[in-house]
């Protein structure tokens, strides 16, 4: 009898266990945690915020920091040496997939469920693109929001006002404005109308408004079509070709400028309009440089972008961010501790800490509002937030935006009706990468001379299409279609 009762009790306890409270993270044991990330500067281990975290969680954070350009190579070396860091930022999709496949990464979903990390759970759901970061529904990394980083068109507002021009609504009107800028030459230095960087990819600022999609679209028959196959894209090429042929409407160096050169041209009055990255730091950089060149110059940002045959759309970046991942070799206690730290960094208190630091040290309170100290930004934090803030969620710095134009831009560019997203940012497949690389080469081979007029568009478009087929675009189509279907979505859905 006693035996049966104890057996029943045991069974009851076992059944009840899963319904018990979420596991608690035990902080009693001190541990060393290595974080590997890229950042704009070296971060001292005596940094006050790092110390704060060390004290709060009873850890010793070891930081391995590299510059962004060298990060991938350094991380690859560590992985190849079977020395994966405890906590690191992920930049390369292909390497990430390989790590998951070879079981080298911590199962974040499992840990989040077990310990009930609420902030991380929220982050795993932070926006519709977060779902793309899971592998078959399981998260091996924690998504990071980009904040708003996309491309727009800046232009000389003071010129527009002086010439009494209307803000262009279509690309043809935009061409008119460029012509007017070039002809009026208000700064007196033989300015031209418009410049961009990145040759064809820069001029693709107009692309979504011609084709109606970003990279892949769906035809009326339900087939997947790539932008280079589309006749609407051809129309865009012809549009730029015609402008390039005109005298002064476009910067003659538009196909060969780097982003610094393009920015310099705009900020010294050599061009009237510029395609450039838009985010709050870039915006304030440009305002500052422009006004130091000419005090009455004014910076304008085109909102909405001019409309093409398909409407007015802007392109949004999708894949650019660096999420955090963790080594599978961590024992559970250590993994729990790291995630606890992460969870804290994602909380409002944590985000506040990494944005503003400590009063009197990193920020001052002015009229009840926290204001970051310039000195901190330039000597300790590098740009807009502390390293830990950037690692946990780069997009935290969006909370700093106060400029009204930028706020308007954020609203404009996060509205799905205005945006065409490239949703392949998290997709990596060996064959797809090889074919895409070939297609990019063809882009330089064909599209660049087509725009500069060296190659006749009508005569050579057929050859371009044939070359695309030879490079494997049909195979790529199949792979892409399979990917979208596995995610239960289509390329023209404006999720981002």
């Amino acid at each position: 009898m006693k035996k049966i009762v104890s057996l029943l009790l045991a069974l009851l306890l076992m059944a009840a266990a899963p319904m018990a409270m979420a596991a608690e993270v035990d902080m009693t044991e001190p541990m060393d945690i290595e974080l590997m990330a890229y950042f704009v500067m070296e971060v001292d281990e005596k940094d006050p915020i790092v110390q704060f975290i060390n004290d709060k969680f009873n850890v010793n954070l070891k930081l391995t920091i590299t510059s962004e350009a060298n990060y991938d190579d350094t991380l690859n070396m560590r992985i190849a040496g079977a020395d994966i860091p405890d906590w690191f930022r992920v930049t390369d999709q292909g390497v990430f997939n390989q790590l998951v496949e070879d079981g080298a990464l911590l199962n974040v979903s499992e840990m989040v469920e077990k310990y009930n990390f609420e902030n991380i759970a929220a982050q795993l759901n932070v926006n519709s693109k977060a779902a793309f970061l899971a592998n078959d529904g399981v998260f091996y990394r924690i998504p990071d929001t980009l904040g708003c980083l996309n491309r727009g068109i800046f232009y000389r507002l003071d010129w527009q006002e002086k010439l009494n021009l209307e803000t262009p609504k279509t690309w043809d009107e935009f061409a008119e404005m460029c012509r007017a800028f070039a002809e009026a030459d208000l700064d007196g230095i033989d300015s031209t109308g418009f410049t961009a960087y990145g040759n064809v990819s820069g001029l693709e600022i107009a692309q979504s408004s011609f084709t109606g999609y970003r990279n892949w679209g769906i035809t009326s028959t339900g087939d997947y079509i790539y932008k280079y196959e589309d006749d609407n894209y051809k129309a865009m090429i012809e549009y730029w070709r015609d402008l390039f042929a005109e005298d002064g409407t476009l910067d003659p160096e538009i196909m060969i400028s780097s982003y610094t050169e393009a920015m310099e041209k705009f900020c010294t009055g050599k061009v009237g309009a510029l395609m450039m990255n838009v985010n709050s730091t870039w915006y304030s950089n440009m305002s500052q440089t422009l006004t130091s060149y000419k005090s009455d110059a004014k910076l304008g940002l085109m909102m909405p972008l001019p409309a093409g045959p398909a409407g007015s759309y802007m392109n949004s970046y999708f894949g650019f961010s660096a999420d955090s991942a963790f080594s599978a070799d961590l024992d559970e206690a250590k993994a729990a501790r790291i995630l606890a730290i992460f969870d804290y960094l994602l909380s409002d208190e944590g985000r506040d800490l990494t944005l503003y630091g400590f009063e009197g040290q990193h920020h001052d309170v002015v009229d009840g509002v926290k204001v970051q100290r310039e000195e901190t930004l330039n000597t300790e934090w590098g740009q807009c937030q502390h390293l830990l803030g950037e690692v946990a969620d780069f997009g935290t710095n969006d909370r700093l935006i106060t400029n009204p134009t930028m706020i308007e831009w954020v609203n404009y560019s996060t509205n799905p009706d205005n945006v065409r997203a490239d949703t392949l940012g998290y997709f990596s497949n060996e064959r797809a990468d090889v074919i895409s690389a070939s297609i990019n080469e063809l882009r330089t081979q064909y599209l660049v001379p087509m725009i500069t007029g060296e190659m006749d568009v009508d005569a050579e478009w057929g050859n371009f299409q044939k070359a695309l087929k030879d490079a494997g675009i049909d195979e790529l189509r199949g792979i892409v279609k399979e990917y979208y279907e596995s995610k239960g979505t289509t390329p023209d859905s404006a999720t981002f």
């Binding site: 390989q98 160096e253 196909m255 090889v434 895409s436 690389a437 080469e441 081979q445 660049v448």
Partner: protein, 310 residues
């Protein structure tokens, strides 16, 4: 003596080795160094023949045979890159190889040593300025917005010209900018070689009535002949590579078809997928061609009576 001859070639070899044992003591430490740091890592050349991924040790990566070589050779743009590399390096061979020699010979003729030293110091300065900066300088000069070259064109009544975007000019720009940057520094080796020529030869030749140019040709040039030959062999051997920084900094999309070299091509293509295997295959290809070029040039040099490299 007779007993040695009777024992045959193997024994003769050992005697040779024993006789030269001191020389070996000079060479062996170096060989060990090379083995550890250069040859042993070549075990990883296997990467080119495997589907290498960093997450698995080399042995566990699937064997891929010549797949990556095939991919390399059939890549869009490979052939263009190959042709460009050979063409550009050939032009550089014709212009940029003799230039430092000529400069060294002329510097050697300068009379005032103070002037000579100052000249040397200044002439080799551009070598230390990176190609990134030189390309921005060139962009400034050729800029359509008031760049010096275009201002000259304007004075002549010509329209502004995007020099750096012209296919017909790009290779010349590569050659000329290389001349500008490297001639001074490259002359140093030849200057040092010139110093080992016995000055009495010059005096004797002058007494015999040889003029400046004859002395330059028959004594200076002849005296550094070995150095020149060795440098030439090495130069030809590196025809397939070199100049990555320069081309990468100066190249743009409009001149890609004449300027893209193998180094920049592989760098670009390798950035995407599985770059290790692809890049490794390219590396092996380069090395094989370099070996062929080196040995043929060396054979040719020996044929015309020089010591050569090997």
């Amino acid at each position: 003596m007779t007993s040695v001859a009777k024992r045959g070639p193997a024994k003769r070899l050992w005697r040779e080795i024993w006789r030269n044992r001191c020389i070996y003591s000079f060479v062996i430490p170096g060989v060990i160094f090379y083995f550890i740091f250069r040859i042993y890592p070549l075990y990883f050349m296997q990467i080119a023949f495997r589907d290498f991924r960093v997450t698995r040790p080399l042995q566990k990566c699937a064997w891929a045979g010549f797949k990556y070589f095939q991919e390399l050779f059939t890549s869009v743009g490979f052939r263009t890159a190959l042709v460009n590399t050979l063409a550009i390096n050939f032009y550089k061979l014709i212009f940029c190889f003799p230039a430092p020699i000529l400069m060294a010979l002329l510097l050697n003729e300068l009379k005032f040593s103070a002037f000579k030293r100052v000249t040397q110091t200044i002439l080799y300065l551009p070598h230390f300025v990176s190609w990134v900066i030189i390309s921005s300088i060139l962009l400034n000069f050729t800029s359509v917005y008031g760049g010096m070259f275009n201002q000259i064109r304007a004075l002549m009544g010509l329209k502004p010209y995007t020099f750096l975007a012209q296919k017909s000019l790009f290779r010349s720009i590569l050659v000329l900018s290389d001349l500008w940057k490297e001639t001074g520094y490259g002359a140093i080796i030849y200057l040092a070689a010139l110093l080992s020529i016995d000055p009495q030869l010059y005096e004797a030749a002058e007494i015999d009535g040889a003029n400046r140019f004859q002395r330059m040709w028959h004594i200076s040039l002849a005296g550094i002949k070995e150095t020149i030959v060795v440098m030439l062999i090495l130069r030809v051997g590196s025809m397939m590579s070199g100049g990555f920084s320069q081309v990468y900094s100066l190249m743009n999309s409009q001149v890609m078809s004449v300027g893209d070299t193998l180094d920049t091509f592989v760098y670009r293509m390798g950035i995407s997928n599985n770059r290790f295997s692809y890049a490794s295959a390219a590396g092996i290809f380069n090395a094989v061609v370099a070996a062929i070029l080196l040995f043929s040039t060396d054979r040719f040099a020996k044929r015309i009576g020089e010591r050569g490299l090997f």
